[in-house]
């Protein structure tokens, strides 16, 4: 089975790595985008330092909104385990990514054992007709909406009404919500940057802060991409900064606008794109003079790529450490079906050995 290609031609893995390395060495403005496990992230960032590259998540926009909540405002958050055991009111804030629908179903199918009432009520904030994760046992969530108003505007209205202020458009079912909050011991708001804009995340934190003046409440952060958040964590410990950091001047510089890799490609700033993701995704329209190196789980070369190298999927083809929003931390997972496919980290390190004299620090 072929695992490496230069252009459309099958190549030895060493030759492909050497070719990728030479492209990287001659690039003036390389950019990396990835969707990978912790080890892959570490190797990619270590290579980015050597190459002077900027790096970002493969689907960076939602992660950037989530990151900005932490870098700009801060937050009150709660662990998923505590949510399950303690949340007597669960509020779903906006559309949640599908990967978290299982957790929501589980919350609907259980009661909080550390809460005196052993009951759980569900609310959902968002415009009418918003798609909802299914709740178990035919349970229903009470909708809190201001018609078609945006999530941020609805949350602002909710916050204002909670403070007893007048609002131009009242939130539907507000009295039910107020009653539930008054009786609640630990309401938890489920949030994600998946569909919520930054202002909505900020407004939600304002509401949670208001609630905490007199009683308890918190937010359960459910990242748009678990790999994305895992990469943000590894990037923070390695460089001090989250993703959208670049090494153009040798030292890491965090700039969520300048190092937005999708923007850098679209604007023609990047002359090389290293894309690392086991999942085959729609590639952004390639610029004519940009070299593309793709590490993905594939049996054939990626169209337009100068180099394609096959990698395995974390936790499927090889053991891995990944972020799990079910535990709220990093988790070790075993390969489901150990295959011969190398990990992303292995291939990145191989490219590095061809490009640089010294081995990567990780």
């Amino acid at each position: 089975m072929a695992v490496a290609w230069i252009g459309n031609r099958e190549a030895l893995i060493e030759h492909a790595a050497a070719h990728a390395a030479s492209l990287l060495s001659s690039s003036r403005c390389p950019v990396f985008s990835f969707d990978t496990d912790i080890d892959g992230t570490r190797a990619a960032i270590a290579l980015a330092e050597r190459a002077g590259a900027a790096y970002d998540h493969a689907d960076g926009a939602a992660l950037a909104r989530e990151t900005a909540l932490f870098t700009d405002k801060g937050a009150m958050t709660v662990a998923p385990g505590e949510t399950r055991r303690r949340a007597d009111v669960v509020v779903i804030v906006g559309e949640l990514p599908r990967i978290h629908h299982g957790l929501v179903g589980e919350l609907a199918g259980t009661v909080p054992d550390l809460s005196t009432g052993n009951q759980r009520a569900f609310f959902v904030v968002g415009p009418n007709g918003m798609s909802m994760p299914p709740l178990n046992g035919g349970r229903k969530a009470t909708q809190l909406s201001c018609g078609q108003a945006s999530l941020a505007a609805t949350l602002a209205a909710l916050r204002a009404q909670y403070k007893g202020r007048r609002t131009s458009q009242p939130v539907s079912n507000f009295n039910d919500f107020a009653k539930a909050l008054a009786a609640a011991h630990f309401p938890v708001f489920l949030f994600s940057g998946h569909a919520a804009e930054g202002l909505a995340l900020e407004m939600l934190q304002g509401l949670i802060a208001d609630l905490n003046r007199k009683s308890r409440a918190s937010g359960l952060y459910l990242p748009a991409s678990e790999n994305g958040w895992g990469s943000a964590l590894a990037s923070a410990w390695m460089t001090g900064f989250p993703l959208r950091t670049g090494f153009a001047r040798g030292l890491p510089e965090f700039d969520p606008w300048r190092c937005d890799v999708e923007r850098m490609i679209a604007a023609g700033e990047a002359d090389l794109h290293l894309r690392i993701s086991a999942a085959t995704a729609q590639l952004q329209k390639k610029r004519a003079r940009m070299a593309l190196i793709v590490l993905t789980k594939t049996e054939k070369p990626v169209a337009g790529a100068a180099v394609t190298m096959a990698i395995g999927e974390a936790g499927v083809d090889h053991d891995a450490v990944v972020y799990s929003s079910r535990t709220g931390s990093l988790r070790s997972i075993d390969a489901q079906a150990d295959s011969q496919l190398p990990s992303a980290a292995t291939i990145i390190r191989l490219i590095a050995t061809h490009a640089f004299a010294e081995a990567l620090p990780c």
């Binding site: 270590a46 932490f70 308890r216 001090g240 965090f254 450490v321």
Partner: protein, 543 residues
């Protein structure tokens, strides 16, 4: 490889060696002078002092809360060292990579991360594994977790509680156990806002004191070398000296370590109701031989407070500078990140003076430990300046001249003449930490010891001398020369491996299935998950 460190002033209190002479290293160990041996490498150390590598027992260098602080404060650590990278990622401010390099340059070779949340053990160890050069270790946090509190409430046998503590230490690869504001994080989830030693966690009816005493006994019975590491209640509040005094009294003959005592050295005198109780606490420590403490010295400037004392951090939100915080309710403790700037005003001066008073009024350097509770009192990069303050009365007087007079008037600092000697520094930062942590292979320069050695060239400036070591050896590798990293390597995380009771594992499996809907596998990890060769080094329990 045989190395001779020639003609230095050797300061090795453990082996009673305080003379000018040679120190020999063979591979990774210190060896006696070989008969007629010719060194493969000679390090000229005349005009230098030679000590064992330093050990930091309490510095928040990695793990969930520390990393959240990085996320919260990109402006705090915007890299400022615009110089060519000598080592990988060495220009990354406040990164794991920089942490190892900066510690090594000061001659520190072992550092303990004192607040590992058991659920984030894998994350913590991955961060520590990316800290180069030095060895690391962790303390696992217990005392706000439902499993323990339920056992105490239900009068579970002490042996069962010990099985749980042993499992936690073994599965999280910890070197000891820490309790942080025992019971308060659990009580905070039930909307309790202040919590003291004899307050009870509502749903459990268990007092903070009971939690501390239960864990203290468990640690002792299990033979864990490091005594229970206690972060007391009421951190930072005026009058917290009473809480610290009560906790010291509660040691009751069994070993107990109190962390960052400076943050509890506060009385209620003066017109602001905030005064130094350092002299009183120092006297109590002096009179209580089973108690050890570290200081958590405050130094001036911008820093960030990172703590698993979530109740305290929540109440400190108003003082955040810049104005942003993270407050997390975790499975056990959770934590809070509150950036803070220590000014040279009344309060900042008071805290600074109280820390120094404690350092200088506690007589026995074997029982007082050198910390800033990094980054809570100050980043560890302030250590050289702090050494200077301890070793030079003149430096203290000079510094005090620019500080709040009304605060200094409420402290005894100006009246204290004591200056730490190099021998006392060697005890406080080498010999005593090794003893406290059960690390017999380090903290001294005797034959057979691990070759962790720091050589400092004498200088009129103590800060310069101790801030930039002339030479540092880690496991016999020469890693620092003239204050620069010259060799990159990877240390280990030191851990205990107490035997794990199978019945306890089954109990925990059931508990996790029932309460979290997850098997215990979700929280366990193999050593291979840490992508380094030999990520751990085992330290034996007391027998």
């Amino acid at each position: 490889m045989l190395t001779k460190i020639a003609g230095g002033d050797i300061i090795d209190p453990v082996n009673g060696r305080l003379d000018k002479g040679d120190l020999w290293i063979k591979d990774d160990k210190i060896v006696p002078a070989p008969a007629g041996g010719a060194a493969d490498r000679t390090i000229e150390a005349s005009g230098c002092i030679v000590m064992a590598g330093a050990i930091d027992i309490h510095s928040h260098i990695g793990g969930g809360n520390v990393n959240t602080a990085r996320l919260l404060l990109p402006e705090q650590h915007a890299a400022h060292q615009l110089r060519p990278a000598m080592t990988p990622l060495s220009n990354a401010g406040w990164s794991t990579f920089q942490t190892g390099c900066l510690y090594a340059k000061m001659g520190f070779t072992t550092v303990v991360e004192p607040a590992m949340s058991p659920g984030a053990a894998l994350h913590t160890h991955l961060e520590l594994a990316d800290i180069p050069i030095i060895d690391k270790a962790t303390l696992a946090i217990l005392g706000n977790d439902d499993f323990l509190l339920s056992m105490i409430r239900d009068d579970a046998p002490q042996t069962m509680i010990e099985d749980y503590v042993a499992w936690t230490v073994a599965s999280t690869r910890a070197l000891g156990v820490k309790v942080i504001n025992a019971g308060a994080a659990a009580a905070f989830k039930e909307n309790v806002r202040t919590f003291s030693l004899d307050d009870v966690v509502p749903s459990y009816g268990v007092s903070s004191r009971k939690i501390v005493k239960t864990l203290q006994a468990a640690v002792d019975n299990l033979g864990l070398p490091h005594p229970l590491h206690v972060h007391c209640n009421n951190l930072g509040s005026p009058g917290s000296a009473d809480t610290a005094a009560a906790t010291i009294a509660a040691a009751d003959g069994l070993p107990l370590h109190l962390a960052h005592l400076q943050f509890y050295g506060y009385g209620t005198e003066g017109k602001r109701g905030f005064s130094s109780a350092a002299a009183r606490l120092a006297e109590l420590v002096n009179a209580t031989p089973e108690v050890t403490i570290d200081i958590g010295q405050v130094m001036f400037g911008q820093t960030v407070t990172v703590s698993s004392d979530v109740m305290r951090q929540f109440s400190a939100r108003g003082s955040a500078h810049p104005k942003k915080t993270v407050i997390h309710d975790g499975d056990g403790n959770g934590g809070g990140i509150v950036p803070y700037s220590y000014g040279k005003d009344f309060y900042g001066t008071m805290q600074w003076a109280i820390g120094l008073e404690l350092f200088l009024l506690i007589d026995d350097p074997w029982r007082v430990f050198f910390t800033t509770d990094h980054p809570n009192g100050a980043p560890f990069t302030a250590y050289p300046a702090l050494f200077e303050l301890l070793m030079s009365r003149e430096a203290r007087t000079e510094m005090a001249a620019g500080l709040s007079r009304s605060a200094l008037a409420l402290s005894t600092l100006a009246a204290i003449d004591r200056e730490y000697t190099f021998e006392e520094i060697a005890i406080m930062t080498r010999a005593a930490p090794a003893k406290l942590l059960g690390l017999t292979d380090r903290g001294h320069l005797g034959a057979g010891a691990t070759a962790d050695v720091a050589v400092y060239r004498r200088d009129r400036s103590i800060a310069k001398m101790l801030g930039e070591a002339a030479y540092v050896f880690k496991d016999g590798d020469l890693v620092v020369q003239d204050g620069e990293i010259i060799h990159y390597r990877w240390g280990k995380a030191l851990r205990l491996k107490p035997p794990v009771d199978k019945a306890m594992v089954r109990r925990l499996e059931d508990y996790h299935q029932q309460r979290y809907g997850l098997s215990l596998d979700w929280f366990n990890f193999p050593d291979s998950a840490i992508a380094r060769e030999q990520p751990f080094g085992e330290v034996p329990c007391r027998t």
